[in-house]
Amino acid sequence: MARYIIKRLVYAILTLFVLITLVFFMMRMLPGDPFLGEKAISPTALANMNAKYGLDKPVFIQYLMYMGNCLTGDLGMSITYNRPVMEIVSESFLVSADLGTRALIFAVIAGILLGAIAAIKRGTVWDSLSMFIAMIGVSVPSFILGAVLQYFLGLQLRKAFGVNIFPIQGWGTFKHTLLPAFALGLGSLATVSRLMRTSMLDVLSSDYIKTARSKGLSQNQILWRHALRNAVMPVVTIMGPTVASVLTGTFVIESIFNIPGLGKYFVTSIKDLDYTMIGGTVVFYGALLIVCTLVVDLLYGLIDPRVKLED
């Protein structure tokens, strides 16, 4: 097990190295430069600005310096915000992770339940209802869902009945998390419940369930002790990337609900050509993704003892 983890960590570092290198040179190939604003800057001032952020050195030297700094955990100073990238990323990640965790808990619990119910009550109205919810979750984009929730539950509920339980935008209290967490979670809920349904149907028709039935186990014991544990495996598989993407925030939900999360920096840093910020967000996301996949692989071993991690 320890050997496996070490091996995976070495791979992880290699992956990150390639990722940083690719991103570093790709962003330098984007046309324009970070100081290209609407108004012109005098050549001397421009030279000073380039010098301040180390952009006056040859690109390869900058690359070496950036790599060196990354090794010490220093992602540099954001050109747009004039403060350490690490500080911005960690502050906004906490917000995104807070929202994301709520959305995930909702998505996973409700998704597994809905999927399981749909499979057990296959062909009944429960099945159709569960799959209808899943269909909405998959087919309605989050920006529409967010806007609809905001308009009806946030604004109209307040205007029509004076009920003020759902703030329209902003961040800071529990109330502020309700609508965005629902809007963010519904997509994942749909995926989880559909996967869960398929896999549960598979499991329920397998031989060992028949054996359990013939042993005379109760329906509940069969479902909770035998079926669910095996059926949940595919859900665990997709949890790695889902966790990474939900926790790091989404541009859309954060814009609609005005949440100070990490999501927007993935978009704005590229638009502003804030090199250090682009690098920082990508490295952070990459690292998180790698950690999540590793955790998922380790979880396999726990849930299904047949999986041998040393292979």
Binding site: L30, P31, G32, D33, F35, L36, G37, E38, K39, A40, I41, S42, T44, A45, A47, N48, M49, A51, K52, M77, T80, Y81, N82, R83, I88, E91, S92, A147, Q150, Y151, G154, L155, R158, K159, P167, I168, Q169, G170, W171, S255, I256, F257, N258, I259, P260, K264, T268, K271, L273
Partner: protein
């Protein structure tokens, strides 16, 4: 008897008008009960766009400068009532006869407070000296250092300190500003600058308290509420990056007795619908609105306000590449006459934006209210650029152009370079259609990211590109020196000895009437040579909740002045 009554009524009307002028804005929807506004007592929440940097010397964005206007005090500031210079940190000032030396007398008893509202020290003349030195410090790489470069030896010092090859040594002590005592600041200018006070009112010229700044360090100063100090009407207590800033009334500010607001929350929105919902739901008191939203509000009887920020929009046209058809002056003139500016505004913006009669906007005139009026008066009352298409004239110029180019209209090759964005693209499509309809020219459209478009613009690698300009100070120079040969913002390659000479003349002319006439000539020469095709003057629409009764202002050079906002009872 009747006449006397009329005279009395007239007098009364005049008094009322004067009364109305004396306050900045009055809420047009006061008491109508549409949108009562936010619930927080004594505080308002307003929309604010960019808020990436709060260290005043590093600011570049309008909205950042707008927040600094509320948290710092420069020597002078602009009145929310009439946009004229009024005393701020300086109680009074005088200039020498030659206009080169200015002495400012600071208000005694001004205090620096921190993010907790505690007094940290006194504001002295040295704080201005220190702030301006930091602005000129190359290590800080301040984009707007040029505001401090007007002082004697300042540019020379900046060049020397930046290591410009061949720049002679200049010490910072030799730069033309010094604190004679705690409350007296003497400034020496490199050249006569009739609008010098417009420079010192600019928020990057804020004072900085040296002991605190040194303790925090230049790079950390102003990166959070507790890493900077405040001497203005409000101080910052909370700042969530790219999301929200909270400023609270500073009881130690010299005019605090006249400030009614307890706090201002500045909120950044990225989604226009969300912002609209927030306004209607009472989560924000002031937001900018789009043309569609304006129609919606107007439809329900709610009045939308608008203000002129001074932004003039136009098409840059490349001049210096003879291989491009657009380098032909008559073709550019044909385009200017072929464009229906009014239709363009009605289709794209659906608001009160005006077709540009001249290039320069928002600048005061010497004997007229605006400089633009002086230009029109000098042009026999005619605008320089038509509001509606003048197809006949357009065709005349087109015929000349085609002859010079040796082409037919369908052979004319023009590409409109566009930066991404629905509105930008629509704007250019309308222009494309008008050129097709009125000139028979089939222009192409090329959509690029904003950074790529700017890079191409700066390299003069385009035919036509829609751009805009907002003035930095209230003098025609802020707009008109753009088109000199060496100006970094002249992205057209326009180079006219005559134009350069006029600007050089305006630099030294001290008679304000004469000087204005020089600028009038510049405007007319621009219309003649047409390096740019001016299109419209932007009016920005906004709505205000009924919580804000009066006293707020949105004007050129001060997009937000909320200091003296009075709240509805």
């Amino acid at each position: 008897m009747k006449n006397r009554l009329l005279a009395w009524l007239l007098c009364l009307a005049m008094l009322l008008t004067i009364g109305a002028v004396a306050v900045a804005e009055t809420n047009p929807n006061a008491g109508l009960g549409y949108y009562p506004g936010t619930a927080e007592k004594g505080a308002i929440s307003v929309e604010c766009s960019t808020m990436s940097v709060m260290n005043p010397i590093k600011m570049t964005y309008n909205t950042e400068l707008g927040i600094a206007r509320h948290t710092q005090d420069c020597l002078v500031k602009l009145s929310p009532v009439d946009n004229q210079i009024v005393p701020a940190a300086a109680e009074s000032w005088e200039s020498s006869e030659d206009g080169l030396t200015w002495t400012f007398h600071l208000r005694p008893g001004m205090k620096w407070v921190n993010s907790k509202g505690e007094v940290v020290g006194d504001v002295t003349a040295n704080d201005f000296v220190f702030g301006w030195r930091e602005l000129l410090n190359p290590a800080n790489a301040c984009e707007y250092y040029a505001f401090a470069a007007v002082f004697k030896n300042a540019q020379a010092y900046y060049d020397y300190a930046s290591g410009v090859p061949g720049a002679p040594e200049v010490k910072i002590e030799d730069v033309g500003f010094k604190a004679v005592d705690d409350l007296t600041l003497v400034c020496e200018l490199e050249n006569v600058l009739p609008y010098f006070l417009q420079y010192v009112k600019f928020e990057v010229m804020s004072p900085i308290y040296e002991p605190f700044y040194t303790e925090i360090g230049a790079d950390n100063y102003g990166t959070s509420p507790d890493t900077m100090l405040y001497c203005g009407p409000f101080y910052m207590t909370d700042w969530v990056l790219e999301n929200k800033i909270t400023t609270v009334k500073n009881p130690y500010w010299w005019d605090a007795a006249n400030v009614e607001l307890e706090a201002i929350n500045w909120i950044k929105y990225t989604d226009t619908n969300a912002k609209m919902n927030a306004f209607q739901g009472g989560e924000v008191d002031l937001i900018d609105v789009t043309g569609e939203q304006r129609q919606m509000f107007t439809g329900e009887g709610f009045k939308v306000s608008n203000y002129v920020g001074g932004y003039s929009f136009y098409f840059y046209c490349t001049q210096d590449d003879p291989a491009r058809d657009i380098s032909n002056k008559n073709l550019r003139k044909a385009i200017s006459y072929a464009l229906d500016r009014e239709q363009l505004i009605n289709t794209v913006f659906k608001n009160d934006s005006e077709p540009s009669p001249t290039f320069s906007l928002g600048i005061s005139g010497v004997n007229t209210e605006t400089f633009s009026e002086a230009v029109i008066a000098a042009n026999g009352g005619e605008r320089l650029y038509p509001a509606n298409a003048d197809v006949e004239k357009a065709q005349e110029y087109l015929a000349l152009a085609l002859e010079e180019l040796g082409k037919t209209a369908d052979q004319i090759d023009i590409t409109l370079m566009v930066s991404e964005g629905t509105q930008n693209e629509l704007y250019n499509q309308v222009v494309q259609e008008q050129l097709r309809k009125n000139l028979g020219i089939q222009a192409k459209i090329e959509v690029l990211t904003i950074t790529e478009a700017r890079a191409r613009r700066n390299a003069h690698n385009y035919d036509m590109f829609a751009g805009g300009w907002g003035p930095d100070y209230n003098d025609p120079m802020t707009d008109l020196d753009l088109w000199t040969t060496t100006n970094g913002n002249n992205h057209t390659g326009y180079s006219s000895k005559k134009y350069d000479a006029l600007i050089a003349l305006a630099m030294v002319e001290t008679d304000m009437v004469e000087r204005e006439q020089i600028f009038v000539k510049c405007e007319k020469l621009l219309a003649e040579d047409m390096p740019i095709v001016p299109i419209y003057w932007r009016h920005e629409d906004y709505v205000v909740s009924e919580k804000m009764a009066e006293g707020y202002a949105r004007l050129p050079f001060q997009s937000y002045n909320l200091i003296y906002t009075k709240l509805a009872d």
